[in-house]
């Protein structure tokens, strides 16, 4: 079976700085793949290139045989590859439910004009969106806070909201940006279960960028390790744990957020 996403020789340079150098790996359908590495290893940049939030300097990203790099973010989202952000990037003055409803934009069948005049398709859309939003929030265990304004939510719920917004677009691939950052052990485990159920019950392929080692080892099918912008290893969690290059990269770095 051909891979769902192929990252091919992707390089990103900012002026003289190389953020990502010649990175290649594949993502298969229905897997959970994590990209890890010390701070400044170029994980976020890689994510931005996959979702076309920033262009590649060279190389390309292929999704189902189509190039998705160097396009516009909304086009990549329409193809089914959707990224989430860290918790500060939300619709601040919308409620949780409003956010999830608006994020279903891509599912709309009626045109913008149809909505303006209140056409029948548009009315059907509106009720379908509402129904799906309630269903999704129930699935994510967020029903109780569905009418809270986003800016009033605690950090943990904001993460979940970010994932809810991403899921509302009905993605095939969801890119999660540090979903466990700043969480305690229990919160992290809840989130791990949530991400897993997103994959198991909704058939969404998940890619995530993370610092939290135990969580990554727990959740991932496969792991890609970056260091100083280069890919230094790729494999299953147990392979990565015993990889000398990886251990060296982490021991050699001042950043000891790992808990191995």
């Amino acid at each position: 079976m051909s891979p769902l996403i192929q990252v091919k020789n992707v390089t990103k340079k900012y002026g003289g700085l190389t953020a990502n150098n010649d990175i290649s790996f594949d993502v298969s359908e229905n897997e959970i793949l994590s990209v890890i590495g010390p701070n400044g290893a170029g994980k976020s940049t890689l994510f931005k290139m996959i979702s076309s939030f920033t262009p590649t300097t060279s190389g390309e990203v292929i999704y189902r045989g189509e190039r998705i790099s160097n396009l516009k973010p909304h086009i990549v989202a329409r193809k089914g590859v959707v990224r989430t952000f860290q918790e500060t990037t939300i619709f601040k003055s919308m409620t949780v439910r409003e956010s999830v409803v608006v994020a279903q934009h891509l599912r709309a069948k009626a045109s913008l004009a149809g909505y303006f005049w209140g056409s029948k398709t548009a009315q059907e859309d509106v009720s379908a969106f509402g129904k799906y939003a309630d269903e999704l929030l129930e699935f994510l265990g967020m029903s109780e806070i569905s009418n809270e304004q986003a800016s009033n939510l605690p950090q943990g719920s904001l993460r979940a909201l970010g994932i809810a917004i991403g899921l509302a677009t009905d993605p095939k691939v969801l890119l999660l940006d540090e979903p466990f950052a700043g969480m305690n052990h229990d919160e992290t485990m809840n989130m791990v279960n949530l991400v897993r159920s997103v994959r198991d019950e909704r058939g969404v392929t998940v890619m995530l960028v993370e610092h939290d080692m135990p969580a990554v080892m727990n959740i991932s099918d496969r792991i890609v390790v970056l260091n100083f912008g280069e890919k230094i290893a790729e494999g299953t969690p147990s392979e990565i744990q015993n990889n000398e290059k990886v251990i060296e990269a982490y021991l050699g770095s001042v950043d000891d957020e790992i808990g191995m």
Partner: protein
């Protein structure tokens, strides 16, 4: 009906009754015919302000509405005077022309945010004024005067609008026309804000990155909104020119663009009907201060500064934060 509550419907009914029947009756009884002109101006400026408000809705501070009002006024005047069109056809043409200009200008400048967008739109107003002075078709500083009053309009022989030239009381006719336009504009704005396009605008206002990650074509929506906004500006300006029966490069200047912005801020950015209230308060305030002659500007600006100093979040800030409904 369209998801309105009965309370909202009553509110709208009262409002329509007041502007279409109440105001003419009161003015007729008191004999203050000059108020017709004031209120007509308020209605037209409120239309242009509605456009500015809409650009705020996608998170852009628009201080260029004077430019589009001036463009609208000139297009309508030129079509009526030089091409002999009926005013009623030149009116939408003026709006459309302003919208097309907005698309062309918007393509580069809508990428700018915050004060950068504010600055460039302000510059735009000045540039349109200078262009009107320079071009032959706009007659330079002399402008276009003696624009005929709107003629009648009939479709298939059924008269829809009577000939303004043959009327005894054009003040009332203009007032009613302006009010109809204003009501249509705000009804459209209300629908827009509460439909999907409005929700997408709101998502862009709050976070453009996140909006594009959920598949919103933000560049396209920005252009659409800016075009609609300028359409309102063009319509308001064209009608204004027709009432004044003349257009000069100074008909809408930088200060007008700033005033459109002030109307929106003062009325409150959270409310669709905010710009209407803001226009009414500011314009009426300005008009009432006419009595004090040369101190008009001084007192007006001092009140303005005081309001901003002590109510920095707008007149409606007492009710601020209740969302974007009425």
């Amino acid at each position: 009906m369209l998801g309105f509550s009965s309370k909202q419907l009553i509110g709208v009914g009262v409002f329509l009754f007041v502007i279409f029947i109440g105001v003419p009756l009161v003015i007729g009884a008191t004999g203050r015919w000059d108020f017709f002109f004031t209120l007509t101006s308020v209605a037209l400026l409120a239309i242009a302000s509605a456009g500015v408000w809409l650009t705020f809705y996608i998170g852009r501070i628009n201080i260029g509405q004077g430019a589009f009002a001036l463009i609208g006024a000139y297009v309508s005047a030129i079509l009526v005077v030089k091409a002999g069109w009926s005013f009623w056809i030149s009116l939408p043409a003026a709006g459309l022309f302003a919208a097309v200009v907005a698309v062309l200008i918007g393509l580069p400048i809508l990428r700018l945010r915050g004060v950068y967008f504010a600055m460039i739109t302000l510059v735009l107003t000045q540039v349109v004024t200078l262009t009107a002075l320079a071009l032959p078709i706009t007659n330079g500083a002399k402008g276009i005067s003696n624009i005929p009053l709107p003629s009648g309009l009939s479709i298939f022989g059924i008269p829809l609008i009577p000939d303004f030239g043959s009327m005894e009381n054009t003040k009332l006719a203009f007032y009613l026309t302006a009010c109809v336009l204003m009501v249509v504009t705000y009804a459209a704005l209300y629908r827009l804000v509460n439909s999907r396009l409005g929700h997408l605008c709101r998502s862009m206002q709050q976070n453009e990155e996140l909006a594009s990650s959920i598949g919103v074509n933000i560049a396209y929506i920005r252009i659409v909104i800016f075009a609609i906004s300028s359409f309102f500006g063009g319509i308001g300006g064209a009608m204004f020119g027709s009432i004044a029966q003349s257009v000069y490069p100074s008909t809408f200047v930088v200060a007008d663009s700033v005033n459109f912005m002030l109307n929106c801020f003062l009325g409150g950015l959270g409310y669709v009907f905010g710009p209407m209230l803001g226009t009414l308060v500011l314009y009426f305030g300005w008009d009432l201060l006419f009595e004090i002659g040369k101190y008009q500007m001084l007192v007006y600006s001092m009140i303005l500064i005081a309001v901003i100093r002590f109510l920095p979040n707008g007149l409606l800030s007492v009710r601020f934060g209740k969302g974007d409904k009425k």
